[in-house]
């Protein structure tokens, strides 16, 4: 693996499988009386969150703590950032405090890449703007493997606000690496420019795609990023691109429904779908901790050597 995890494209097939296999072993920790490993004792992980998050921040925090790392939570509110400190100065401050890894979320796409040039430690992208969210893609792939036994050859349909979604981009890249076939379904206004260059298919007709899907991943409609009319009304969006019980009934028998959270019940996903047995939404959260432990272990667990050695 590289020193940083900035994009799902940083991971080749072997790296991605190593993360998933490692996460699978670490997931067993949840059944033990002591849910903690000493591996990252004395290492410091900084959660640098310039954007609101509950799930991802607590997930990374728990992951780092379960590996015995020291965790510093830093959010833009109530820090010197609100006094006008730049990303670079914030980074250098954290560096001076000896951060071994910085987990960063930022509203600007590319912020983690910039950060990676300024600090010596590892940088983990926990979501940058509308660009990428690689650990979410990893935990989604992990969840698919757990439920369906494999990722390779699966038909995965990603539905909704692709334009503003970092989850969609990371998932398309990672799932392609792992050999799944991805179809994006969205209104034309919510597809990014250049989507034809992505390694996936695009459709505008959800009803036609759902019956052929092993996995349907619903994306949140990100109203906070929408400055303009992307669709006429929420009701119309929901009717054409939302997953309700009627559409869910056309899914193949063992197909699953995923959502990265937070959900807008009644907009992109109906409540009865979110609470159905097909829904993996709660599992995704639990798996997030295991996958993030695996990422932190693989980035920080070794010395400076990057090669994966077999135990002697």
């Amino acid at each position: 693996m590289n020193r940083h995890l900035l994009s799902a494209a940083d991971l080749n097939r072997d790296d991605a499988l190593l993360v998933l296999d490692t996460a699978e072993e670490l997931a067993r920790l949840a059944d033990r009386p002591i849910k903690k490993l000493p591996t990252l004792r004395g290492r410091t992980v900084v959660n640098l969150f310039f954007e609101d998050s509950t799930r991802t921040r607590t997930s990374f925090e728990l992951a780092a703590k379960r590996l015995s790392a020291d965790v510093i939570n830093f959010s833009a509110k109530g820090s010197s950032v609100s006094k006008g400190e730049s990303l670079k100065d914030t980074a250098l401050t954290l560096e001076a405090m000896g951060a071994d890894a910085v987990v960063v979320r930022h509203s600007a796409s590319g912020a983690p890449h910039r950060l990676a040039h300024w600090i010596r430690g590892s940088v983990v992208n926990a979501g940058d703007g509308t660009h990428e969210h690689p650990t979410q893609a990893l935990l989604d792939a992990f969840t698919m493997r757990q439920r369906l036994g494999r990722v390779e050859g699966l038909h995965v349909t990603i539905v909704g606000d692709v334009l503003h979604s970092r989850v969609a981009r990371s998932n398309v890249l990672l799932l392609h690496t792992l050999g799944a076939e991805v179809t994006l379904v969205a209104p034309p206004t919510l597809l990014p420019v250049g989507v034809d260059a992505w390694p996936c298919d695009v459709s505008f007709d959800l009803d036609a795609v759902v019956p052929k899907s092993d996995v349907v991943m619903m994306l949140r409609v990100q109203r906070e990023r929408m400055h303009g009319g992307f669709f006429p009304t929420t009701r119309e969006y929901s009717r054409r691109y939302g997953l309700d019980a009627r559409r869910m009934a056309t899914l193949p028998d063992d197909a699953i429904v995923m959502h990265p959270g937070p959900m807008n019940r009644g907009v992109e996903i109906a409540a009865e779908v979110a609470d159905s047995v097909r829904s993996t939404i709660v599992e995704q959260v639990a798996n997030g901790v295991s996958v993030r432990m695996a990422v932190l272990y693989l980035l920080l667990g070794g010395g400076m050597a990057e090669a994966v050695e077999s135990a002697a």
């Binding site: 693996m1 190593l18 296999d21 490692t22 699978e24 072993e25 670490l26 067993r28 033990r32 009386p33 002591i34 903690k36 490993l37 000493p38 591996t39 590996l67 272990y297 693989l298 667990g301 070794g302 010395g303 050597a305 990057e306 090669a307 994966v308 050695e309 077999s310 135990a311 002697a312």
Partner: protein, 194 residues
């Protein structure tokens, strides 16, 4: 991950000299099985925990033999110690192996750790730490196929298949049928400093 995933043997096995052949390995394991039963007055409380990769295979074989002696199955599992090693920071990151603890847990049982080669003792130390997070066995014992000496910690084995005096420049390879296609213990010239 499959615990039986083959790990390449380092060095050149062709240049190495066999010190135990297949029947020797079998006899050593049979003797260890008898010793475990004798010392623990049966095997009801015994849990055999193999340290991946080859320790797991050896634990299963010893379990079969103990079952043959006692007439009932022995609890068997595997214990990955990677996350507890003291040399993680000195070496590259390693993939994890399988940890599989019997459903009844290890509290109040007699855990017999099983590994292929006992060398510095650091792996066993890591295993003792790992076990501390899993439960509290009544006692912990150690079974190894080969004790090659050169301990760096105050650790000794309770059951030893064969003591093989070695120099630090030599390597010991344990080959097992399930993983390597044949049973043998090879003593070879060192290829690199450990």
């Amino acid at each position: 991950m499959s615990s039986a995933r083959p790990r390449p043997v380092s060095g050149d096995p062709a240049a190495a000299r066999p010190v135990l052949d297949a029947p020797d390995v079998g006899r050593a394991l049979t003797r260890i099985a008898h010793e475990i039963v004798e010392r623990n007055h049966g095997a009801d409380d015994v849990v055999l925990l193999g340290i991946p990769t080859r320790g797991v295979t050896l634990a299963r074989r010893i379990a079969q033999r103990v079952e043959g002696i006692e007439g009932r199955p022995v609890r068997t599992g595997s214990l990955d110690v990677t996350m507890y090693r003291d040399d993680l920071r000195m070496r590259g990151v390693r993939p994890l192996e399988e940890t599989d603890i019997p459903a009844a847990g290890i509290d109040d049982s007699v855990v017999v750790l099983v590994d292929d080669v006992l060398f510095s003792g650091r792996t066993v130390r890591a295993a003792l730490d790992a076990m501390g997070d899993l439960g509290r066995p009544r006692a912990v014992q150690l079974a190894v196929l080969v004790d090659r000496g050169h301990r760096e910690l105050p650790i000794r084995a309770d059951y030893v298949g064969k003591n093989i005096p070695t120099s630090l420049r030599e390597t010991v390879h344990v080959l097992l049928d399930e993983i390597d296609g044949r049973d043998s213990v090879l003593l070879g010239p060192a290829e690199e400093a450990r």
